[in-house]
Amino acid sequence: MENNINLTLKVWRQNGPQDKGRFETYKLEGVSTESSFLEMMDVLNEQLIGEGKEPVAFDHDCREGICGMCSLYINGRPHGPDDDVTTCQLHMRKFKNGETITIEPWRSAGFPVIKDLIVNRSAFDQIIAAGGYTSVSTGGVPDANAIPIPKPDADEAMDAASCIGCGACVATCKNGSAMLFVSAKVSHLALLPQGKVEAARRAKAMVSKMDELGFGNCTNTGACEVECPKGVSISNIARLNREYLKAKLAD
């Protein structure tokens, strides 16, 4: 059950957006295998503060896998060597005593590094602002049960909507493409009658913003789906392609 392990951490340190950055190596001893990865990072930071050094900056918040704030590219995988988890849900029992762990920030032209392991993901907000909503204002809406929605559609919309906007899809994609993120939102809303109304406009606006922000072209490798902590499917990308092409051909 509970075990303590010793680790060597190779951590990316970068003072600011303009800094070149470098790897620093730290030794960490007696890490409980029951602790989470970020708790291990807390222990590292306590150690660094004790030594009078600056702690490693990393994004994190809810620590229960839903806010999408935590990132970290760990040993070649976004969110580390476990499936269907975010970094905050990754536990140290996935690592061996004596292991060297390489910890890097998300790397993509769309996500510039702010400091150490923290990147700027505001591009995702800009894409949502471009059209990822239904244009209804508060009040004056029909009764919630006025339009029945087939359960399979509602369930599929829910699956698409479970995206947490963490950016692992972009981080792992060899093309730095944001198609999984964009397609999840387009699908979520296109599958529901409330969102269907402006599906064409939405698909065009969001794709155009995504392209403008410098994300790459999807080549359907499917790595995003594998690394998505919420298992969002690339069938959403097919739907986005369909919605987009339909919209463009109708223009």
Partner: protein
């Protein structure tokens, strides 16, 4: 100070209608010239900012996270209540109102709760129109489930991610306004002070968490939607960044802080397992729909389990004590949170606890799986079970989950009147940040309801009533002396923190505070302990201000500096909580004083003495705050001892 709650005239059910009919409005041309600052982008903040933007106000919205979508409302799992009565099981607005008042142990303001219940249905309509993918039945209509403290099924849900879906709905509405140019979004920006001009809140001083730079922002009104202060306990189900600093800034500017001692301890969290632990993970209350809570009937079985010699599955049904079903046959496993939490503590304290620490009870799905099949359970709770398995490395389909209570939500908060305005004119508080609606205990699935009610359906009305008198106030530039002084004071505070250059990390002091809070101001409190807590907190405060160590500088991002400034405020809150708990000589809802309990161990209120909200007023640095009372009048509900038996 006399507290005017501004409850409108008329019978309870008519009050909100009467208010809306007689309130002042702002015409569209004037709205463009009025600025509103909204702090926070959770359910209350995002929904308020989006609604203000839609109405035509100029809005500035601030969040400490990198995106408004990260606010901790996102972590709510179970659902949102509404009195739709779709299942035809006897629900009504009155019933939801009544359950909420009763669930809050008769310590909430009737008029606010009734308004909350009456707008609950509009929230569901609004969310569906936004594309929130609520669970549906095969007929295509919305599904409901039951939750603690109610005998009807009125909870709408989206898998185990209801908070996420509602927040994303509000976030999308907000981003639509950002796109339209009505809302200016400031991410990774923290509010470090509230600016007062001529006795009114007129803006904020913000600190950019990336650059460390300070900036001044003017608003005709300021809305705080900054959530609760559960992180005072260090370990809680709150997000790491959740903090009470904005609330404390308001408090220091003269806003009263009401009922700080009402903190909700959630019964179903994953138990604490080590020193290094950074936070506690909640398992949704919805699990209590199908899960049965038990501990071994025999002490020797419990001891064997703790020693690892026995497994829970080895214990026969007749040797299990389903203590909630035993004590509360009418509500069984679905009693309110405070009741369930205390019952778990009672069993563990009596020596029946399980897990290696003895501080855990079982939440068992065996009967539900036998009755409904594993597939049904997987469909209902699959993601929660997966989450549990990832954290604990144990399969909850085969062995029961282990759970224990943890700090989850704070019912107390900034005092607001019926209009959600604090005692500082122009300063409003919404969602968990205010004290309204939940009394001494919040029912499950009601926090989402309150956050969205405040943001979508209450503030858009009430803020106009305030701003209508402000149409002649020109925008300020931020160069006024009040802004300059406030900015300087804030900067000085950060410099002071950096100059302490002591020996202890922020977290180590915060953990110490958390332990004091949990031991003395936690699930069971008493006079002696609370007095001790106040002393200990004062010592921690001294330690903090003389011995905290913050590496780095105020230039650029400095996470430790952020944490230190928040901890300074948590210490203030901890002190307030202990004082409030000490003064409230009764047990009610989330506040349990050991001196005031029935022979059966149930909470015993002292209605003749404490039917009021305790509202604390700041008196200055290192001075004890003084308390004002808002008497609570129950005109409709008959106040009674809560009975879930």
């Amino acid at each position: 100070m006399k507290l005017d709650s501004k409850i409108p005239e008329g019978p309870l059910a008519q009050k909100w209608e009467n208010y809306k009919a007689s309130q002042k409005l702002v015409n569209p041309a004037n709205k463009r010239n009025l600025d509103i600052i909204v702090v926070g982008t959770g359910l209350a903040g995002a929904s308020a900012a989006a609604s203000f933007g839609e109405m035509g106000f100029k809005v500035k919205n601030f969040t400490i996270q990198d995106s408004p979508r990260r606010a901790h409302s996102i972590a709510a799992q179970g659902g949102i209540n509404a009195a739709k009565n779709y299942p035809n099981d006897g629900d009504s607005i009155y019933r939801l109102f009544y359950d909420t008042v009763k669930g809050g142990d008769y310590r909430a303001r009737e008029a606010n709760v009734y308004r909350l219940a009456s707008v609950s249905n509009d929230i569901i309509d609004q969310c569906v129109a936004q594309g929130v993918p609520f669970a549906r039945e095969y007929g295509g209509l919305l599904d409901n489930r039951s939750f603690g403290g109610a005998q009807v099924s009125r909870t709408f849900y989206a898998k185990g991610q209801t908070g996420q879906q509602l927040l994303i709905g509000a976030y999308q509405a907000l981003m639509r306004q950002v796109n339209a140019g009505t809302v200016e979004m400031h991410t990774r920006t923290e509010i470090v002070d509230i600016v007062m001009v001529d006795g009114k809140a007129r803006g904020v001083i913000a600190r950019d968490l990336v650059t460390g730079e300070f900036s001044r922002h003017f608003g005709h009104a300021v809305v705080l939607a900054t959530g609760g202060y559960g992180n005072t306990f260090f370990l809680s189900t709150n997000a790491m960044g959740s903090n009470g600093s904005a609330a404390i800034k308001a408090f220091e500017k003269g806003a009263l802080f009401a009922n700080p001692c009402y903190a909700q301890i959630h019964p179903t969290c994953i138990p604490v397992h080590g020193e290094f632990q950074s936070k506690l993970t909640l398992m949704s209350e919805s699990l209590r729909n199908d899960g049965r809570i038990w501990v071994p009937k025999k002490k020797e079985d419990a001891e064997a389990i703790r020693a690892g010699k026995m497994k829970p599955t080895d214990i026969k049904d007749e040797d299990r004590d389903y203590y909630l079903e035993r004590r509360y046959p009418a509500f069984g496993n679905l009693v309110p949170r405070d009741v369930a939490s205390r019952a778990a503590k009672e069993r563990c304290d009596a020596g029946y606890g399980v897990g290696s620490t003895g501080l855990a009870v079982y939440l068992d799905f065996k009967s539900a799986i036998e009755r409904l099949g594993e597939d049904t359970i997987r469909a209902r709770y699959g993601n929660l079970f997966q989450m549990y398995e990832k954290i604990v490395d144990d399969n909850p389909y085969a062995t029961p989950m282990m759970i224990y209570p943890a700090i989850h939500y704070t019912m107390g908060g900034i005092w607001v009147d019926y209009e959600l305005q604090t005692t500082v004119p122009g300063l409003f508080a919404a969602g968990e940040a205010n004290f309204s609606d939940h009394g001494a205990n919040r029912l499950g699935a009601s926090a989402l309801m309150q956050g969205l009610a405040d943001g979508y359906f209450v503030l858009p009305y009430t803020i106009q009533n305030y701003l209508a008198d402000d149409i002649r106030t020109p925008r300020m530039t931020g160069e006024e002396k009040e802004f300059v002084e406030a900015e300087k004071a804030a900067k000085d505070k950060f410099t002071k923190l950096l100059n302490i250059k002591g020996n202890r990390s922020v977290d180590s002091i915060h953990k110490e505070l958390g332990l004091v809070m949990w031991d003395f101001v936690g699930m069971a409190r008493n006079k002696k302990g609370l007095e001790e807590a106040i002393e200990k907190i004062a010592a921690i405060k001294k330690e903090f201000w003389t011995n905290v160590k913050i590496p780095g500088s105020d230039k650029g991002m400095n996470v430790e500096l952020e944490k230190a400034s928040r901890l300074a405020d948590f210490i203030t809150i901890g002190d307030l909580m202990a004082r409030d708990a000490l003064h409230r000589e009764e047990s009610c809802g989330g506040h349990f004083r050991e001196e005031y309990q029935t022979e059966e161990g149930e909470a015993q209120r002292q209605d003749d003495k404490f039917t009021y909200a305790g509202c604390w007023e700041y008196q200055g640095e290192d001075k004890a705050p003084i308390m004002h009372k808002e008497d609570l009048k129950f005109e409709v509900v008959k106040v009674a001892q809560r009975n879930y038996k």
